[in-house]
Subunit: 404 residues, 2 copies
Amino acid sequence: MGSGKILVAQGGGPTAVINQSLVGVALEARRFRDVTRVYGALHGVRGIVDEEFVDLTRETSHNLELVAATPSSALGSTRDKPDDKYCAEIFNVLRAHEIEHFFYIGGNDSSDTVRIVSEQARAAGYPLRAIHIPKTIDNDLVGSDHTPGFPSAARFVAQAFAGANLDNAALPGVYVGVVMGRHAGFLTAAAALGKKFPDDGPHLVYLPERTFSIEAFLADVKAIHERHGRCVVAVSEGIHDASGKPIATLLAREVEKDAHGNVQLSGTGALADLLCDEIKAKLGIKRVRGDTFGYLQRSFIGCVSDVDQREAREVGEKAVQYAFWGDRDGSVAIRRTGFYSADYALLPLSDVAGKTRTMEDEFIAPSGTDVTDAFRLYLRPLLGSGMPDAFRLRCARVAKILKP
Amino acid sequence: MGSGKILVAQGGGPTAVINQSLVGVALEARRFRDVTRVYGALHGVRGIVDEEFVDLTRETSHNLELVAATPSSALGSTRDKPDDKYCAEIFNVLRAHEIEHFFYIGGNDSSDTVRIVSEQARAAGYPLRAIHIPKTIDNDLVGSDHTPGFPSAARFVAQAFAGANLDNAALPGVYVGVVMGRHAGFLTAAAALGKKFPDDGPHLVYLPERTFSIEAFLADVKAIHERHGRCVVAVSEGIHDASGKPIATLLAREVEKDAHGNVQLSGTGALADLLCDEIKAKLGIKRVRGDTFGYLQRSFIGCVSDVDQREAREVGEKAVQYAFWGDRDGSVAIRRTGFYSADYALLPLSDVAGKTRTMEDEFIAPSGTDVTDAFRLYLRPLLGSGMPDAFRLRCARVAKILKP
């Protein structure tokens, strides 16, 4: 063991439980006698190259617990994706500070960052142990049953659709809710868990795993509206046509891309408005409302899965254990071992980095606009305890007198 | 006392606690020996003219309690506003069913409906006791300290901004959240209760009580962004220019109006997108995101103020007591009697109907883009118990080595 200094950082989009993983690292690391300092880099890899570190060892464990329960990245995040030059800068800083253990909490892109840093360190002969700690509301990491952050976001989406369904039942019409998820439909599919009675919405769920056609969409909405007098629709922001072109880009608005080349889909209500305008124009339905859940679904304070909280904490703790008791770099993965129980494994970084999991076929109904019971069984335990429930009146109709 | 039949209905936009009032009426009414039947009209006044009644007396009290805790109007709602002809139809139905007590749970427009029905009944010599039970997330009824439904929606907005602020701190930029509220800014102002530390957002709050100017808005955002490196903005959907024209209608999109002549403002992300586009174009800030809270804020299941729940229940109970032990029609109002305690009063319908309360000047900071401590003191107890709290790291910076 060298200096005993470890570094932890958070990358990518924040989640409701990402600080559980941070605090899991910080508190578990201090149980190892070789650890002298736990540094946190501000705003991910950007904070490493800028030497923007805080000393988490100087935090009280009490405040760390309070921060753990607070959503969004307490250290700040970044969308930077290091290339070779960027990584060379990272090594210079790690060397200068004698840091030999690096923990990066993030999703797809962050796991790729860890892989590059790990490979560059090996090539440079620098003794770095680099561990990727999973986090993404998209649930799109391969090798994991699910990813920390997804269950809480899924809980928000399920609760939002449970409420939107009740609202739509009171004032009938068409309601379109647009949910985050570029390539993977898991979060959009979570809308189905907001449904209780057979005639409840969401009646239609559109996932990026299936090709989206405006014509088929309008026919589906028309059929549901004729049957129920109303229609609640869950749509992924990532829906695309047969050529793979996002439906959101069918609009005239300019397209914004991030450092990873991803088209910006969130933070605008354009897709919901486009779909609502189509329904009004082509189906002649008057009351059509669209909501884009946007950033609420990943950072809402006070809608968190307790299962998600404890697992996010554990992946942080396990990462430290793998780093100090193991002999290789890797990515921490969640495995399902019971209904419901989880355990953890360390996967090779190359098995996870840059790969995207999408919804398995067994989770998507043959219609393409609903989920299966397999998906409901998969997701329900992750949503945690205390899920609010919806009840309805079931009393008898009174006989009409004037117009019987 | 006549037939002993009473009728209750729900009008206008649903809230998270509107069924508490419904169940308050249903259960309290059965304690009066003269009451033989408690009917509920489906979809408000529309259900009365269509004779669409259910017999709430045939509900179990257990299920009524479960429905009370479920958001959105369990009987269904309507946007219909009865005129003279409509009211004549209502009387025919009430007469035919020998209903002599009418309770209507709703907001501004619903209180006006009760006033019309009450006056028409008196003119027609029909012995009707009509009581308006307050409900609106807009908090815009005159004569009440606040209205049931507002505290729970305010809690959602405060929690949403607390989370959005954390998200924006992690990935800095400009965030614009658009909140419901056509004429009254109370719900938008609730965003300020999501703020904890002095540099937290929302940094700017735009209310319909003040004239909105795009130029002043851009200057405000620029100043905050330069000071904090980020900016979180709360905007009411009802913001308007000096002529009173809604900013939302500056867009090319066609304008939809309801039966009350109100321009449709919710259910579209257009206003947020307009403001974000202006910020990107005029200020050159790259990361600009807009969310429109839409229907989530009034029907989200699982984000309810316990204070709101109990008051919504009590206005329903008090309405029945006023009806049977009082001698006049009226509108139930909430009065604040302590910090915090509430009591109830019955106001003349003409004091409430068709009038709109807006935010008092003492609640709005002189800058016009913030609330006062008087507003914070006003709102905080209404949000109820168990409000989630946000914590941050406060540990020491590590000295730089390479670039000290």
